[in-house]
């Protein structure tokens, strides 16, 4: 039982990171109708920035500073490369983000250098006893951060003027414009928020082991998460991310015993199996908006 619970906590810990990344994808998708493949690079840039800032200002201050920095980067990217493409096919924009991803990573790699960089987090691999269960402190930190971030996001979208404006713009841009919402600003804000979120996730990805040039790959785990949750749903992204983390963690821990015939490393495939199962039942994802089709 104890092992089951610690597997669950590990799954929820990593799942929280996937969820944060998934939310960042979804925020961009809702505003621009495009999946930004630059998110892995944003995450890597954020983690690297934290690794530089943690020394002088400490981890706790480094994370929000890095989030602001990467948010500014997101803003810049939106202004410089996405804004001029409005009205063009979203496919083109998606390809642009692919190019951006590579370009940003090449620059960030210079700052990462050849070694693994530490983010200076206070937890390392230390464990703590919670109700008789030994769990790594960083998993708890990840879960707490997800809760805080999601609560902040939901209240932002629910109660703040700008949150409402962004929701309106994502629902129907023209109507929002007519109502006096600055759709451009809403879009720019979404890219900035997504950048900041990716940076926070990156900082926590770096806990325990550090950041190196290949860390960006982790961000791709958010892709099955957003499809599972429904591309345009933030709740869906959270649930999808946590589901991916938990499923992966359990399959990694038990599949070798329970179903050895599936071969080694089945845990890597498990999020996609979950994705297929979900799509069979709900083609728009768990929380996705059903598209209206005229037949």
């Amino acid at each position: 039982m104890e092992e089951v619970l610690s597997t669950l906590v590990r799954g929820l810990g990593f799942g929280s990171l996937y969820a944060m990344l998934a939310v960042s994808f979804v925020i961009i998708y809702k505003s621009s109708r495009v999946i930004s493949f630059a998110q892995p690079a944003m995450m890597l840039a954020g983690a690297t920035l934290v690794s530089y800032l943690a020394g002088p200002v400490g981890f706790y201050l480094a994370v929000p500073l890095a989030a602001l920095g990467i948010a500014a980067l997101g803003l810049g990217i939106e202004r410089a490369t996405i804004r001029p493409m409005i009205g063009r096919p979203v496919f083109v924009i998606a390809i642009i983000t692919l190019g951006l991803d590579i370009a940003i990573r090449v620059v960030v790699n210079v700052f990462i250098g050849r070694d693994v960089r530490q983010v200076g987090d206070p937890w390392g691999l230390s464990t703590v006893e919670v109700l008789g269960l030994t769990v790594q402190q960083r998993y708890i930190a990840m879960i707490v951060v997800l809760v805080v971030v999601v609560a902040a996001l939901f209240s932002f979208f629910r109660y703040s003027r700008w949150g409402l404006a962004m929701r309106a713009a994502s629902l129907d841009q023209e109507t929002a414009l007519v109502q006096g919402v600055s759709v451009g600003t809403a879009m720019a804000m979404s890219w900035a928020m997504a950048g900041g979120l990716a940076a926070v996730a990156g900082a926590f990805v770096g806990t325990g082991g550090g950041v190196d040039q290949s860390t960006w790959v982790i961000a791709l785990k958010a892709l099955p998460a957003i499809i599972i949750g429904g591309l345009d749903s933030i709740e869906g992204a959270v649930v999808g991310g946590l589901a991916v983390g938990v499923v992966e963690s359990f399959v990694a821990a038990y599949q070798a015993d329970v179903a050895p015939w599936l071969g080694q490393n089945f845990s890597l495939v498990s999020p996609y199996v979950l994705l297929l199962l979900v799509l069979l039942v709900r083609p728009y994802g768990l929380f996705g908006t059903r598209e209206v089709e005229r037949v």
């Binding site: 050849r114 070694d115 960089r117 230390s126 790594q136 190196d212 290949s214 399959v251 070798a256 890597l268």
Partner: protein, 447 residues
């Protein structure tokens, strides 16, 4: 500490003197032969037959303006691939190596240039083939081809064109590719030695290989399996993939089976995750890592105490702090750089190519075919003490060419790259008796 430094400095001075004396002798020999052989120290060319990648004009920024130029190409991972951090260091090591060759007068009246044709293979076979085709008309041989899938993409063409190449890896596959001039023991031999050493010193009863698929990880796992069978101990095999977040299954396997020895063949980040988490979870056994598993930055990570307690590193040659003539020469040529094993690798991987070029120049045939013939005829390569004497018998076939010595290091934060030698040129009974009949990972069935 200070004492060692002083001793090191003394040693270096003596070596410097030895090197200068050798240089003088070479110079004297060159002068004597100068009258008879116009190729010697003369107008670059002359009696030596050449075809592609060798010019009678001096190299750009030549050390010896009177010499001709031999161009060697480099296909390395410089920007976006997983070894983009290592590629530039390997190149720097290799540049330092050939620079010294040039400062010693070059080879057969030619300087060697390794800087003109450096291309980024992006760790992508397609790109590799493309940049290879670009530089092919201008180079005699390849001073570096990084990555097995990349090398595989061009090896048939290398073979057809008689272009020999120094690999930047230690797969046992290279023993069976004639145009590849490899150095150092393969991952396979290294793993055999690791298991033998742990049986001898720690009396282990079981070993678990945690490894990538393919000619790196599976090569090491195959070696571990052979050694486990030879020693009559239990062997289990866990395949894993890249990514610190993808190691949960490997860690679970360690926790469940609690082997006496875990032998890891992944990247350094994965190794740090596996070792850190396994030890944090109460694992008490020993851990060994193939040569690419170590990165000194691990010492700054939370996994550092676990590494110091349980980890031993297997290497094809001694680490930065090892004391051989080759190490001393490399360190002196590299100057004031932040210590990193990849610099040394670039240097040491270059010895076979130098030996082949010298042999070809001596035969008066610096054509591609001539160079290949010279390489295939090498019976011993002078590694300046880095590898045991008698290493590099390419003429005797794969089994004779295979290096079998492993340098085992413990983790010590005081060492330049964190590696402190515990056993030098260790050659266990398993590898001693093993006959290399094909790449280990193809010959041995991992199940």
């Amino acid at each position: 500490m200070r004492n060692t430094a002083r001793r090191g400095a003394g040693l270096r001075r003596r070596r410097l003197m030895a090197v200068s004396l050798t240089g003088l002798a070479v110079l004297a020999a060159g002068c004597r032969g100068g009258g008879e052989d116009p190729a010697d120290g003369g107008d670059g060319g002359g009696d030596v037959a050449t075809d592609v990648g060798v010019t009678s004009e001096p190299c750009p920024d030549a050390v010896n303006a009177d010499n001709g130029c031999i161009y060697l190409g480099t296909l390395s991972d410089l920007t976006v691939g997983p070894f983009a951090a290592a590629g530039p260091l390997i190149i720097e090591g290799q540049e330092a190596f050939w620079n010294r060759v040039n400062e010693d007068g070059g080879i057969g009246g030619y300087d060697v240039d390794v800087t003109e044709y450096v291309r980024d293979n992006q760790y992508n076979p397609q790109v590799t083939n493309q940049v290879y085709q670009e530089i092919k008309p201008d180079v005699l041989a390849l001073a570096q081809t990084l990555g097995s899938p990349m090398t595989a993409a061009i090896v048939d063409d290398l073979d057809a064109e008689d272009i020999i190449a120094a690999p930047a890896a230690w797969s046992s596959l290279y023993l069976f590719q004639d145009v590849i001039v490899e150095s150092g023991a393969s991952y396979c031999a290294e793993a055999m030695n690791g298991v033998d050493y742990a049986v001898e010193n720690d009396g282990i009863q079981s070993v678990m290989a945690i490894h990538y698929a393919g000619d790196y990880g599976a090569d090491a796992a195959a070696g571990a399996k052979v050694a486990a069978e030879a020693n009559g101990i239990e062997f289990t095999n866990v395949e894993t993939t890249a990514g610190a977040d993808n190691q949960a299954a490997a860690i679970a396997a360690i926790r469940e089976q609690a082997p006496d020895l875990v032998l890891i063949s992944t990247g350094p980040t994965e190794t740090a995750t596996i070792v850190g988490q396994a030890v944090a979870g109460g694992f008490q056994g020993r851990v060994m890592g193939s040569s690419p598993t170590w990165n000194p930055a691990i010492l700054q990570s939370p996994a550092a105490p676990a590494f110091q307690a349980a980890f031993q590193h297997l290497g094809p040659w001694g680490p930065w702090d090892a004391e051989t003539d080759g190490h001393a020469a490399a360190l002196e040529a590299l100057g004031d750089v932040q210590p990193n094993e990849f610099y040394l690798a670039g240097w040491f991987w270059s010895y076979p190519l130098k030996a082949a070029l010298e042999a070809a120049a001596e035969n008066g045939d610096l054509t591609r075919a001539g160079l290949r013939e010279a390489a295939e005829g090498l019976e011993e390569i002078d590694f300046e003490g880095v590898l045991p004497e008698g290493t590099g018998n390419y003429a005797g076939g794969a089994n004779e060419a295979a290096s079998r010595a492993t340098y085992i290091s413990a983790i010590d934060p005081a060492a330049s790259t964190g590696l402190a030698p515990v056993a030098e040129a260790y050659t266990g009974p398993t590898v001693e008796a093993y006959e290399f009949t094909g790449p280990c990972y193809e010959v041995e069935d991992l199940g």
